[in-house]
């Protein structure tokens, strides 16, 4: 699997993501600086976590205007798989590639803890390695992860089977509406999620529940 990780000024989980991708796929990902205007041919583009542009203005807002994002959108439109994690998810909603918005956590504080996620659908290139309804462990670490969208959008997401992950109701860490932790675009080739699967991919990290997302993407390539 060929993959690329986009690095913005202030990205800070790009190294975690590079490690996870290489560890799981066996191939070294390409790192792409945000000022580039084109992307190489890859199977998976990842927008990693962090505080792009220091979260100034709004999380993800300035990064959404970076030169590279035009290229990312073009690739996404062509069906190339795009995964945005945490700040990457925020950037994807800011650019409108994914619907909804990530508001400040309901308790107004940064939260770093392990949560439980329900795999809301396994009919996608990102979740096929899981079984539907499976409960997995995954860490979160964010200040603005409170997913919000209007009722129509939410109903459409549910109706189209585009919610990839939900927090179990007792572990929803941020007040996300309908416990939504990750959503996909209409073509289901773009996934944005707040939790960090890249930090739970090997036994040394206390578990491998996060691997499935990367393994799913791999399987669909193979």
């Amino acid at each position: 699997m060929k993959s690329a990780v986009i690095v913005f000024p202030g990205s800070n989980r790009e190294r975690d993501m590079l490690y996870a991708l290489e560890h799981i796929s066996g191939h070294k990902p390409i790192t792409v600086w945000h000022q580039e205007t084109s992307l190489p041919d890859v199977d998976l583009i990842v927008l990693p976590g962090g505080f792009s542009y220091g979260d100034y203005l709004r999380t993800g807002a300035i990064a959404g205007l970076s030169p590279i994002m035009k290229a990312v959108k073009e690739k996404a439109d062509k069906g190339v798989r795009v995964l945005g994690v945490c700040n990457g998810f925020q950037i994807l909603t800011e650019t409108g590639i994914l619907p909804g918005a990530l508001l400040r956590n309901a308790h107004l504080k940064f939260v770093c803890k392990e949560v439980k996620l329900e795999v809301a659908t396994n009919k996608s290139v990102f979740t096929s390695a899981y079984s539907a309804g499976e409960i997995i462990r995954c860490p979160v670490a964010h200040h603005d992860g409170n997913y919000f969208a209007d009722e129509d959008t939410l109903n459409r997401l549910d109706g189209d089977d585009r919610v990839a992950f939900r927090y179990t109701s007792e572990t929803n860490p941020n007040g996300s509406i309908r416990n939504i932790a990750g959503v996909m675009n209409e073509q289901k080739n773009v996934l944005g999620m707040m939790p960090h699967p890249e930090n739970l991919i090997e036994p040394a990290q206390g578990g491998t529940d996060g691997r499935g997302i990367f393994e799913s993407a791999l399987e669909w390539v193979a």
Binding site: P9, R13, G50, F51, G54, D55, C112, P139, A141, Q205
Partner: protein
Amino acid sequence: MIKNDVDITPELIAEHGLKPDEYQRILDLIGREPTLTELGIFSAMWNEHCSYKSSKKWLRTLPTEGPRVIEGPGENAGVVDIDDGDVVVFKMESHNHPSFISPYEGAATGVGGILRDVFTMGARPVAAMNALRFGAPENERTRHIVSGVVEGVGGYGNCFGVPTIGGEVNFDARYNDNCLVNAFAAGLAKADGIFLSEAKGVGLPIVYLGSKTGRDGIHGATMASAEFDDDSDEKRPTVQIGDPFSEKLLLEATLELMKTGAVIAIQDMGAAGLTCSAVEMGAKGNLGVRLDLDQVPCREEGMTAYEMMLSESQERMLMVLDPNKEDEAAAVFKKWDLDFAIVGETTDDQRFKVYRHKELMADLPINELGDEAPEYDRPWVPSPKLDPIAASDVPAPADLGQALIQLVSLPDMCSRRWVWEQYDNLIQGNTMSGPGGDAAVIRVGDKGKGLAFSLDVTPRYCEADPIEGGKQAVAECWRNITAVGAEPLAATDNLNFGNPEKPEIMGQFVGCIQGIGEACLALDMPIVSGNVSLYNETNGQAILPTPAIGGVGLLPDVTKRIGKSFVAEGETIILIGNHTGHLGQSIYQRDIVGKTAGAPPKVDLAAEMKHGTFVRNAIRAGRLTAVHDISDGGLLVAVAEMGMGSNKGGSKIGATLTPNGGIPLHAWAFGEDQACYVVTVPAGEAESLVKEAKTAGIPTQVIGTTGGSELTVEGVSPISLADLDAAHEGWLPNYMSAPDTH
């Protein structure tokens, strides 16, 4: 001749924190009246915070060398060999005064400063911790300070991208008007990739890197060298404003720059900013420095030389550049959108010359600025020794179980989850054991190694007996690192005390240093970096003596680490060490009985070494299943913590314990003897372990068995672990969610 258009009056001198005899020393040194800019430079270099003038004499007595020590105190951070050509670079530093005045910004810039110290040396930060001390919970200002400090620590570290994996949080009325924020950071580098601050070569460009200079933080270091009074809130403009985003860019740009080979010497701008960094680089290299302030990137217009030399704007660096690599170096900084400006050059005249608008504003002998700083042998009196108190003289609780529930829910004893969940403790993906254990553990590189970290000090012991308290701080840190299976390598110290001009306070300082030195020597844990914070005093009331110790340990095989929580039912619980039930200065005595009396527990350093080595060997041989040291709260609290932390299919594992009939029950339960560990082993393995310990001359007692969902002490009604856990987890979130009264 240098022009002087401002009258240097005695008032102006006093405002700069310089004593009349210190000013006379300046006159003698330069043979004329200083300019205002020069006076500012002297005040910046000669204040307590930068010059260590009251503490230097005593700091020299600390052991700072060892086979693994590559750089000891004197550089931005200590450097310690961790095999395979890898080194760990670490330091701890206080940001007490700013954090009290402006909790969020003070704490945030404290974290920023210590991270910069680490990456200035070429190391990528991989772990952060903090020792935080706040006023009494009922003090009207405490909640506001806790909230701001924790948010500030998180705000900076989370954005920068370093896992905050451990630390301490304590409350005491003695910190009501002087909170303590001691920030620790550690980074990794290669032994041959370390950068130092010593300038080399004449006529080389001096480059300014990072964020622009503004008027923030002017005189910050001078403020940190004075006592507070009722008007301290007026000092808010001296607090710096941090921007972790810029620091993250500066980290990446600096590490990238270092790879180009362009960096000859580098120094971050911390306390006293441009002044301190330029003087340090020049003086260490025995060179002169000429600065042209017109080239310094400024955030504000019309800044004077005086303001620029004293600004403590954050996220800035100064370096000596290889002139052949100027273009390459500038390109790196342009990529990261950071300022890169040549602001001066090295000279051979050993003078520190500062120009503004082409005019000479300061012309001072560079070596003397640092070396000739006043040094005091301040008068001191030893703290009076307290007699030991017999356990039988400390009243027993009416209900042992209730006392235990009360103990685990005390402000100083409850779970710190509310704090650490606001810190990203997982980023970088190497956190093997995060906050909440005896020591935090990270994975290092791809050879299976690990590093363990712990921050410790027990201020009430230090006040009762500075020497034993100093020893105990080191011993507990060493023990915590040992308890996860790591070998303690070295430590950093952050010495927080009151006004050193008072002989009693100076006596606490001298005593603690003596104890720290003895323990570091006996336990092979040299001090490789550190920081002193004095004048933590308001309206004459000093803080408790608080010499925080930050230790680093090595695990050759990170998978051979161990946790403190019970892992299975039916295992044997063994107490290792000589547990006599020492209640003097214990948490039980202070918070349940309501008294602080008697001598604190003695620290037998030989026993620490012997017991710790035995435990570590047993961990590495895979013979133990859980280990927890005995500290605050005593044996029963330690066992309760091992149960509360356990998780067997969603429920907790309890224990049944048999007390030592030879001592009073409450002393057995809550005594805080040192050099003691509680360990568990599979039932069949207990006998051989006990036998081996006996052969080695180490006292052990089999005290019980794991199992059930309660803590059952023979002769006492069972204590539900669920109740204990609810009390333990509840206090801090409940306290913090109460309405803020300030």
